[in-house]
């Protein structure tokens, strides 16, 4: 049997070698993987960058394309407008020119007639063309042609024609004729969307610009319209909301620091403040509307200009037929303006369109005239009339406005003298106390005092000198003396006496410190209690004051209602 000897050491070293070789190779692979990972990462970010650049390029290209398209389109649309309605522009310019020529009186009837008739032939369907023929015929007293032309214009656009003649006859001082045209105009107005110019007509009639007959006519028509529109609950609600908003806008605010104690210790103060501020709107509203009621109506100097502006607008504004093309132009111009940003351009164009299309019904126009006369350009005189018309809505709004804050009115406040309400409270660990404003003040003060007394008693007790202070020290002294006592009893006795003297003096020192601390607490006792009581007293006084102010403000509702109910220009709308 042969003997096989195994050299374990060699095998072991070979395995070690192989392992270290392997781990070296693995490390190599690892670093290669790391390099690849880094490469991949950089490729990835480069790709992302590329993608971003590409997207930017695509977006820019799209925007440039959109912009170019819009530029071409605007050009085409304008050309189309010019081709289809170019003649309208000439008619508009001619009508303005003709009115000016009448004012100056430097143009012959013949040339006016020739120009107007030419335009009549060249612009079929447009309402302004027969209007200028009628004007020309009127200037040379040709009743037949004037009547025919007016009939034609009226059949083309009743609203614009009657408004035009109403304004022109008024310019010539023919109030009877303008009142007749006002009747036609009112007949053609849609009360749910009377148009932007209606407020000025309302204003002008209120100022007697069209004579007393027109004033009566308009007020009767307004009453009929309002009665009709007010059968819709939504319309009435929306007026009441506007009025309530108007009352709300008169709110004042409690100046910071007016009620410092309540701000500090009443967590419910914000509610009381809110209700105070809500009620504060009432006297301000009374002042505002009393001033309007008392104001002497004066003729606004700008009224003439306003009426001329309507006339100007009427003859220069685009006709309904042109609107689709005009809207397209608006949109493409927005695209060019936004540099091809189509979504933004759409939004801008929509907004512009909305502003152009904005229409309110006559009831809303009345309320707007009453609440924000400046916004729709009417005078205080018209505002007074409009307030009279909106009387019942105003009264309803006052009722609701007050009911809302009264419903949430606070009955009492909790005054919270918490653990940190004063520096002393923190120092002496005051546990905190919550008192309702319903509690009589003297009783509240007693509660606070009691709590403070017990807090201070506890504190003093904690810091006073106690005999148990000696126990550990005496024990330690005795233990220390035990060793010399064992060595030499005489020496031990001496040490014991020395230790007793030391402990005694230390105790005396501690007693002195404690009694000093207690004296310090006693010295500030009344100040600490007084501070809390003062804060509580201030808060209750401020609460009484705030409630008094609230009741004063709140009680003005009846005064405001009386003011509205006895409005000088009110009609019979009040129930």
């Amino acid at each position: 049997m042969s003997h096989v000897s195994v050299d374990y050491y060699k095998i072991g070293s070979m395995i070690d070698q192989a392992t270290s070789h392997l781990s070296y190779q693995i490390e190599g692979v690892d670093s290669s993987v790391g390099v690849i990972r880094a490469d991949l990462h950089s490729t990835n970010s480069e790709l992302k960058e590329l993608r971003k650049l590409f997207e930017e390029y695509v977006e820019t290209a799209a925007r440039v394309a959109a912009r170019q398209q819009s530029e071409t389109r605007v050009g085409n649309l304008k050309a189309e407008l010019d081709r289809q309605f170019g003649q309208y522009k000439i008619v508009r310019l001619t009508s303005v020119g003709m009115l000016q020529a009448f004012d100056v009186g430097n143009v012959s009837n013949d040339s006016v007639q020739r120009v107007s008739e030419e335009l009549m032939i060249q612009t079929p369907r447009y309402w302004l063309a027969p209007v200028i023929v009628a004007l020309a015929a009127w200037s040379r007293d040709n009743t037949e042609i004037a009547t025919k032309s007016i009939q034609e214009a009226y059949s083309r656009d009743a609203n614009k024609t009657s408004l035009f003649f109403m304004l022109v006859t008024r310019r010539q001082g023919r109030t009877a004729a303008s009142a007749r045209w006002l009747r036609h105009y009112l007949g053609s107005v849609d009360p749910t969307a009377p148009g932007r110019e209606f407020a000025v007509i309302l204003e002008a009639t209120g100022q007697n610009a069209f004579g007393p007959a027109a004033q009566l006519l308009l007020s009767q028509q307004m009453f009929r319209w309002c009665t009709m529109l007010r059968t819709d609950d939504g319309v009435v609600e929306s007026q009441i909301k506007s009025w309530a908003g108007e009352i709300g806008r008169q709110r004042e605010q409690v100046a910071e620091g007016t009620y410092p104690a309540l701000e500090a210790i009443a967590p419910g103060w914000d509610w009381l403040k809110w209700q105070l501020e809500q009620a504060s709107a009432l006297p301000v509203a009374i002042d505002k509307y009393e001033a309007i009621a008392r104001a002497e109506g004066s003729l606004p100097a700008a009224l003439e200009n306003l009426l001329d502006d309507i006339l100007d607008q009427l003859v220069t504004e685009y006709d309904a037929e042109e609107l689709p093309l005009r809207r397209d132009v608006l949109y493409h111009e927005a695209v060019i303006r936004t540099d091809g940003d189509v979504p933004r351009a759409r939004k801008e164009a929509d907004l512009l369109q909305q502003a152009l299309d904005e229409t309110s019904d006559v009831v809303t126009i009345q309320t707007m005239a009453a609440i924000s006369p400046d916004l729709i350009g009417v005078s205080q005189q018209t505002q007074r009339i409009a307030i009279g018309v909106g009387q019942s809505d105003f009264v309803s709004a006052v009722g609701r406005y007050c009911a809302i804050y009264r419903q949430r009115a606070v009955e009492r406040l909790m005054l919270n003298l918490d653990r940190t309400h004063t520096g002393y409270a923190v120092k002496f660990k005051f546990p905190g106390i919550e008192l309702s404003t319903d509690v009589p003040e003297e009783q509240g003060i007693q509660h606070i005092r009691h709590l403070w007394e017990s807090t201070l008693a506890g504190y003093i007790d904690a810091i006073s000198f106690k005999n148990k202070w000696y126990t550990p020290r005496v024990l330690i002294g005795a233990l220390i003396c035990l060793i010399p006592m064992l060595v030499n009893p005489g020496f031990g006795l001496l040490a014991l006496v020395a230790a007793a003297v030391i402990v005694y003096f230390m105790g005396e020192n501690e007693k002195k410190k404690c009694s000093q601390a207690v004296a310090a607490v006693e010295a500030v006792r009344e100040t600490a209690i007084g501070k809390s009581i003062d804060l509580y007293r201030d808060a209750t006084a401020e609460y009484v004051d705030a409630m008094h102010v609230y009741r004063l403000l709140d009680s003005q509702e009846s005064e405001l209602i009386r003011l509205i109910a006895t409005w000088p220009t009110a009609n019979s709308q009040m129930a």
Binding site: G248, E252, R400, A403, S558
Partner: protein, 148 residues
């Protein structure tokens, strides 16, 4: 500038809508509700808690119910008002369908339909509060006008 009430003009112009939501009732009912309540009606409501005799109370309830039916302002759940009985009672509910007048102390909770009315009844600005089946809560001022 401070006003006479030590309040200053508000800086912000944003205004929350201050109105109660509109209840869906017919224009006729709405108009009837807005008509002022006459003095006799107000007087009857204010005297309700002064009677203890069941017959008189019954007659008064009947009379009230008829007046409200005549007004045609919709179906009432009841009326709610501050109570004049004195402590511990603070307010009461008058149910017109039956002949119940229920008095509440400050700690009592009122039926859910009347919780909004209770908050309003605390205000001295209202004589009493009407609560309708459609959810409308209408405060009535001492002069008989509706405040909604």
């Amino acid at each position: 500038m401070q006003s006479r009430y030590r309040l200053v003009p508000k800086q912000s112009v944003s205004v929350n809508p201050q109105t109660a939501p509109a209840n869906k009732v017919s224009p006729l009912v709405r108009a009837n509700r807005s008509r002022p309540r006459d003095a006799a009606l107000l007087d009857a409501v204010s005297r309700l808690d002064t009677f203890t005799d069941p017959e008189t109370l019954y007659a008064l309830h009947e009379w009230l119910r008829e007046r409200y039916e005549e007004r045609q302002g919709g179906n009432l759940v009841g009326l709610f008002a501050a109570c004049h009985l004195g402590r511990p009672y603070v307010d009461h509910q008058i149910n017109l369908a039956g002949t119940i007048a229920q008095h509440f102390t400050a700690t009592d909770s009122v039926p859910p339909d009347f919780s909004a009315a209770r908050a309003l009844a605390r205000s001295a600005a209202y004589a009493y509060i009407e609560v309708y089946e459609d959810g409308a809560v209408i405060p009535i001022r001492p002069d008989g006008t509706s405040a909604a």
